[in-house]
């Protein structure tokens, strides 16, 4: 599947950014995508790991609140 372009990730771009060469817009799109993936990876790992720290009695309530 093709990676999302900069405009697809951010919406309408400022004129000066839109006017950049395609290779530079791709470079920016890659940097934004990598930052979003880092955040998603941190989030994906945190849910189950966090539950290990929660007292057993509270786990069902926490699962329900976070919808894990």
């Amino acid at each position: 599947m093709a990676e999302r372009t900069l405009a697809e990730q951010l919406g309408s771009l400022p004129e000066g950014i839109e006017a950049l060469a395609e290779e530079h817009k791709r470079n920016l799109a890659d940097a934004v995508r990598d930052a979003r993936r880092r955040q998603a990876a941190a989030l994906a790992g945190a849910g189950d790991e966090a539950l290990r720290f929660v007292p057993a009695l509270l786990r069902p309530a926490i699962r329900k609140a976070v919808r894990l």
Binding site: Q9, L10, G11, L13, P14, E15, G16, I17, A19, L20, A21, H24, N27, L28, A31, V32, D34, A35, R36, R38, Q39, A40, A42, L43, A46, E49, A50, F53, V54, L58, A61, I62, A65, V66, R67
Partner: protein
């Protein structure tokens, strides 16, 4: 540092890449570059907002000491910073004061002070000073400038003693709001006034 270099440095810091990667952005009009950085920051902070909001809501069920431990051992600085903007400020302050300055400095580097202003304004002076000292030790002027842009004057004054004169011009160049440069100058003790060049101080 030119205004373009400052913008590129702030963008690179938000995306965790070396600023040299974005050298071609010097040809972009400054206002467009600033708007683009704000767009990027907004997208990063609004990503996964639903699940982060649910995590913040669930945190109400847990005691602060446990949350502080989880922040360090599970969530890490990035998620802690994202969640910080979503929890009740008093709760956020209670958690933050239990965390070591090095971890809080990591969180500060990931934080948008506008989204966590309740927490940053409520932190005890000793905590702010310790975090400022750590950020200065790291020479993380982008983060220091982001906080100078948004923190109340009393908090900035508490941190100024740790900032060397040589760094003040870097920090002034990195401020988003030009009016804050004059404000920063007004907070400086008389014997430090020369640290910010006249062309920045206005």
């Amino acid at each position: 540092m030119t205004p373009h270099d400052a913008e590129i440095l702030k963008l690179a810091s938000a995306l965790k890449v070396p600023p040299q990667r974005f050298g071609y952005l010097r040809q972009v009009p400054l206002e467009d570059l600033r708007r683009f950085r704000e767009q990027v920051t907004g997208v990063l902070f609004d990503a996964h907002l639903g699940v982060l909001q649910r995590m913040a809501a669930a945190s109400k069920l847990l005691p602060s000491p446990l949350l502080a431990r989880m922040a360090q051992l599970v969530f890490g600085p990035l998620l802690s910073a994202r969640i910080a903007g979503l929890v009740d400020p008093a709760r956020g302050v209670d958690i933050a004061r239990r965390l070591p300055p090095a971890f809080l400095a990591d969180v500060a580097a990931e934080l948008d002070p506008r989204r966590a202003s309740g927490i940053t304004a409520g932190l005890p002076e000793r905590v702010v000073s310790a975090v400022a000292e750590e950020l200065v030790r790291r020479e993380d002027w982008v983060t220091v400038a982001r906080f100078v842009d948004h923190l109340p004057g009393s908090t900035i004054v508490a941190s100024l003693e740790f900032i060397p004169d040589a760094a003040l011009s870097h920090i002034a160049a990195l401020l988003d709001d030009p009016a804050r440069i004059a404000y920063l100058v007004s907070l400086l003790p008389d014997d430090h006034l020369g640290a910010i060049p006249g062309d920045l101080a206005g």
